[in-house]
């Protein structure tokens, strides 16, 4: 920010004194802080009927204890630094419809990349640059971004194996074929 201001000052100072007919330099642009950047991303991949979480959780007492879940969310298997982490380290205990950062700042599910980026800074940086993760749309224009959670299950983030598409047919000398 300081450097941007400084360069802007320099530019105005230089512009006043010069009359050499040089084309004017482009104005210095205010660079927004990384957290002020908001990206167009697809909506979060919720399981059907699960959101808003407050539908069920609003009246429940907050239970921070690590335990076997029996009533709900039994499909969730936590394999994401599970020895150090439990639900409310990422989900907000006071408002279940949002997540929260380590600082306690609430973060919407639509901006969950900020939460992931706290630990995975390198990946977050690459994702912002458009290098980590899939992009759709235009190489010189509007791009479609995906949230981290679209490809990585937040509870088991390791990318799962896929069945490959069929192998190409090897060249054949079978004369019964048409070629």
């Amino acid at each position: 920010m300081t450097s941007a201001l400084l360069s802007a000052m320099l530019l105005t100072a230089g512009g006043g004194g010069e009359s050499t007919g040089k084309p004017p330099l482009p104005p210095a642009q205010a660079v927004p802080k990384p957290d002020e950047l908001r990206l167009e991303v697809s909506p979060p991949p919720f399981s059907e009927g699960i959101y808003p979480c407050s539908n069920c959780h609003s009246g429940m007492p907050v239970n921070r204890k690590r335990r076997q879940l029996t009533d709900m969310h039994t499909d969730i298997v936590l394999q994401h630094d599970e020895t150090h982490r439990w639900c409310l380290d990422c989900h907000d205990p006071n408002n279940r419809d949002v997540l929260h950062l380590a600082s306690g700042e609430p973060v919407k599910f639509t901006e969950s990349y900020r939460l992931c980026g706290q630990c995975h800074g390198e990946k977050y940086r690459d994702w912002r640059a458009g290098v980590h993760g899939r992009r759709t749309g235009n190489w010189n224009g509007a791009k479609g971004y995906l949230l981290c959670a679209h490809c990585h299950n937040p509870h088991q983030p390791h990318f799962r194996a896929l069945a490959p598409k069929p192998a190409p047919r090897p060249p054949s000398r079978d004369i019964s074929r048409s070629y």
Binding site: A129, G130, V131, H132, R135, F159, L162, A167, Y179
Partner: protein, 299 residues
């Protein structure tokens, strides 16, 4: 050149029948050479109105053949654009989604199969070693333990050996770097296939079979319009999409986001970020083909 050979000045010599024949044939050769050199080298270089009528003829032909409304573009290279491609080897899981997305987008023959992308499975212990690469791997799930994958298609070389050997000038590098083939100018000699060190060019040994329901009607003259028997074809960076500003089909389908595409002259592009920040390599660098296709280890 026959026309450059000195013709004897001896007047008696003209009376000799074989000398006369020689003079006539030399003149004819010279005339035909001059006519050929003056005309358009390829149909794509024909005057604009001629090209327009040619393209509308093509559209009509495809419409009759496939019973579908098609559009054949002749969009030229955008100024200030040099395309480049990057593929992250550390991310590719060898799922072959790109291979079939490419087939559908670019109207390749379904039978016999023509695949512009070939995914090679390699052993981690051996590194990038083409002599041990397997394109026919078929496990139940990928990635396989101890393997990595290198999808290979046209590398869009800046010094393309295929272009150098083409006897008719039917293949060339466009201003934006895309190496293209004019299917109407290709004589099917397959010199380019022999010259390409990446096996990226494919020949239509028989008439391609392409079901009308699967025809992609969004075409480019130098790209995915239906090919005939006896011509060579290859990846064009999805010219019909990339010249309209869109990502190639393989970039959009890749489930791990390993494929990146953009304008290398744009400092804010993804491709520039990769080249400036990641470890990159090109295939067979020692051949000095200077590919526009980079492989990276980004993680």
């Amino acid at each position: 050149m026959a026309s450059e050979q000195p013709v004897p000045r001896n007047a008696n010599a003209c009376a000799h029948p074989s000398r006369r024949l020689f003079t006539i044939s030399a003149a004819a050769t010279a005339a035909s050479w001059i006519l050929t050199a003056c005309g358009p080298k390829r149909l794509f270089e024909a005057p604009k109105d001629r090209l327009k009528s040619l393209i509308s003829d093509l559209e009509l032909r495809y419409r009759n053949e496939y019973g579908k409304d098609v559009h054949v573009s002749d969009a030229p290279a955008m100024p200030g654009v040099q395309f480049a491609y990057a593929l992250d080897i550390s991310r590719c899981i060898g799922c072959r989604r790109c291979v079939y997305a490419c087939v559908e987008e670019n109207n390749q023959s379904r039978d016999p199969q023509v695949h512009w992308i070939r995914v090679l499975s390699m052993e981690k212990g051996k590194g990038v070693d083409f002599s041990h690469a397997d394109p026919y791997y078929h496990p139940a799930q990928v990635p396989e333990e101890g393997h990595f994958y290198i999808p290979v298609s046209c590398q869009h070389c800046q010094d393309p050996p295929c272009v150098k050997v083409c006897p008719t000038g039917a293949t060339w590098a466009e201003k934006d770097g895309i190496v293209v083939v004019d299917y109407d100018w290709c004589i099917g000699c397959r010199y380019c296939m022999a010259a390409c060190p990446y096996g990226a060019r494919h020949f239509n040994w028989t008439a391609p079979v392409l079901p009308a329901a699967e025809l992609n009607p969004n075409m480019h003259y130098l790209g995915n319009r239906p090919r005939a028997k006896g011509v060579v074809e290859k990846c064009t960076f999805c010219i019909q999409r990339s010249r309209a500003g869109r990502y190639p089909a393989c970039v959009e389908i890749c489930p791990v986001g390993a494929r990146k595409f953009g304008n290398i002259l744009d400092p804010a592009s993804e491709i520039r970020y990769i080249i400036e920040h990641k470890r990159i390599l090109v295939l067979k660098e020692e051949l000095n083909t200077v590919p526009r296709f980079f492989y990276s280890y980004a993680t």
